[in-house]
Symmetry: D2
Subunit: 259 residues, 4 copies
């Protein structure tokens, strides 16, 4: 529970929580509180579709004391996302924006090209851009070059609960971008996945479905709270090296290999 | 932090900690306290080799308020282990014994045959036997038939930090032995491994090297404390089902398969 | 396609094929021929249940020119398996027996205890015992001590197609039992699994369901033939060492770990 | 060994081989022949650096009867790659170009942005572009939109031998781009990796280090030849579905989950 900084704020929690798809507003509220999250994200597009209910929803979130991180979920082009980001800034009086520009309706993966276009413009417009991005180093480097100061690489397709499908990619990001806050966003299925991400040295975890779709969302929020704190502590404490008990390391013809 | 029963005792912690290989007695003491462990294990054979220091060591553990679970680490035959278990009962006034009968000096895996022989005798002699055993259902069933009421299947070779090398085997044990306390013992490398074990529905985790060999053992003990609590909560809260985003499930000639 | 010896015979193929559950006798016959298998296994108990059809079945196998390896599938005790092995020797005039003593009706895993009892007796009775066994080193060592000269560790539960659930265990067997013929038996789902086993330095692969339950069993038999030859060649050719592109190897507090 | 079409040619082999880093020209020549590869790739930039030796090298490749696929390895910008591609067309009288635009000198991953720019131009210039690309669907779709008719997604970092670090991404490509030839390029370490790629339904495999860095490259080339044929046959034959032996599938609070 040590302090860290992101986007000009000082936080103690490293758990960012999404607010979609909960069984009821009360469960959402209880889950936020159980999670200890200090930042919650909300899809503006989805809320706007609900008209007057949106303000009720926002009020509910405000009542928990969390910072709001509006997101552009549902946008498929840079233009749409930029427009929505500006609306979010006016409505919620925050320059933070979680920038989602989805490139495929099925996997909901980011579109690296539209995302970069949108991020470039929004940085110029004075936003603190949190880009939901792919996990490849070059795409991430381009977003940094465009002025982003934080990255949100995916762990797996949104809502899949598959965990970290390519942990090596996240390790590479951590190793090559040592000073950049990295928040894994999307794909986390259970606390074990979140702990793995934190042990890799990522700075925080954002998730939604894994709590909202749990049988008991409030208890699961508490589980993630503990897990994320555990993974951070483990990273700081220095994990023991893994030992191979079986076989010599140099490959020689006719000798077994490591797999 | 709900209560559970094992071997006639009621515990709140699900973290069992080993006491070997710490940098100093003080670090050990601090690690036990940071871990919240209510049960710690100690190798009698190793302690006896240290003569008068052994009682100091025991006093240190007693001072933490933890229950002592003596173990027979280093024994290679049922006879050795039985003798050592009786000595432990006299010395420490406890009928609990973590029964280790190692079958291979390199991997330190249990010997299923000698283990069963020793367990059978020790149950008859009135011990509460905690057998360090393989993860296969038939070996485990035999130990239950011999009167054991708890099982300690390995996760991976002792000291390897490889985590759960065969999670399917542990799932099978959980599914087929629903009422039996299962404590994963050996192989855990980091909290992510412990969380995975707890999410599988195992009842507790015993580990030693992952804390003792961490760069900062005391902080790592705290990391495991949180992780084990997280995994238990997640199990109770009901993890969301994982979704495949890619491909139809029925295999058809000429169509991709799931891997 | 180099020669190797097992049980007193010289073979060129390293593919052992099971004969159960094919769509028709003709498909079985074609699959055996496509596989290039020189040894096929047949469950005596199942055949006996079919009365006169059994001899037709045996004739079909003989017509392919393959050696017959009778098996004791379906036996749950040493006694049953010993009796069946003796019947097999009389009926088929072979001292080879694939010894299966199943310890659990659900996973069909071997029973390490009954298996050892049966193997000990059958070796004394002059059989060439091919034990279907667990993948743990100690159980395997006991079977060798009992006089077995070949081992058939499982890859995964029979019929599951899960592949090698614990490749580290197989690597340990290969490393620690360098002169012993090791045939992975059960669990193989696709040629990728068989190639992995062969690259680990195992000597051969036995499978059944992966061919019999393929959409096109004959074509799948050919796929496995090529795959098994490929894996053996790769083992002999010396696989390149895998490189980590991401991160330093020594764990330090606050630095990412390898997973 | 059935026929397939790519880039206007009809091939029987699905194995594309790289020509760098062999112990000697003779070993390279023997490896190409053992591989059965009908297409080999050559880095023009590297060859140009060798002056007159380049034509000897090209002559060696021509003598094997393989088609040449020149590549732009070592280029870091679209401009460099476009220039080199035009040089390759003049020198080797082929419109085929394996387009590599590397975005990071350490992982050698493709730069999705420069790659798209270069591909767009080269398609306009009449090339048959084989882009070495990331494995994400959106980047791949953009290359198709730019007029590419084949894709070469990576399996893992070049030269790492890590195999398929994200098989789910490749499955998604196969499922969503059913008519597009997909050739996995980079990262393959052993035949098991290549078989896995082919079982996923990819159309072919390109590799270099796994053969060149094997202890016996020629034998390894033969191993890959068999493995790639095996994987294709398995894909066509329809792999059996994998079975879970352990646990019910629907997650319920307090019940174990699938991992």
């Amino acid at each position: 529970t040590s302090e860290w900084q992101i986007g000009g704020r000082t936080l103690t929690s490293r758990f960012f929580l999404g607010t979609a798809a909960y069984p009821s507003p009360q469960v959402l509220k209880d889950a936020i509180q159980a999670s200890g999250a200090q930042v919650v994200t909300m899809g503006l597009r989805r809320q706007l579709a609900h008209g007057t209910e949106a303000s009720d929803f926002f009020a509910l979130i405000q009542a928990t004391g969390s910072h709001l991180l509006p997101n552009t979920a549902g946008c498929h082009t840079a233009r749409e996302a930029i427009t929505l980001a500006h609306m979010a800034r006016e409505l919620f009086d925050t320059s933070w924006i979680k920038l989602e520009v989805v490139g495929d309706a099925h996997t909901l993966q980011p579109d690296p090209f539209e995302l970069l276009t949108a991020a470039t413009q929004l940085v110029k417009d004075g936003f603190e851009v949190f880009p939901y991005c792919m996990d490849d180093l070059v795409s991430c480097q381009r977003l940094l070059d465009a002025g982003c100061s934080v990255l949100m690489p995916w762990g797996a397709p949104i809502g899949s609960g598959q965990g970290l499908v390519n942990p090596g990619a996240l390790r590479t990001l951590r190793a090559r971008l040592p000073g950049v806050p990295l928040i894994v966003d999307a794909g986390i299925g259970s606390p074990a996945d979140a702990v793995q991400a934190m042990e890799l040295g990522l700075d925080a975890v954002l998730l939604n479905s894994a709590v909202a779709h749990a049988v008991d969302p409030v208890r699961m929020a508490r589980a993630f709270k503990l897990g994320i704190a555990s993974g951070r502590l483990a990273f700081e404490a220095g994990v023991m090296p893994r030992q191979d008990m079986a076989v010599a390391s140099t490959p020689v013809a006719g000798h077994p290999i490591l797999l």
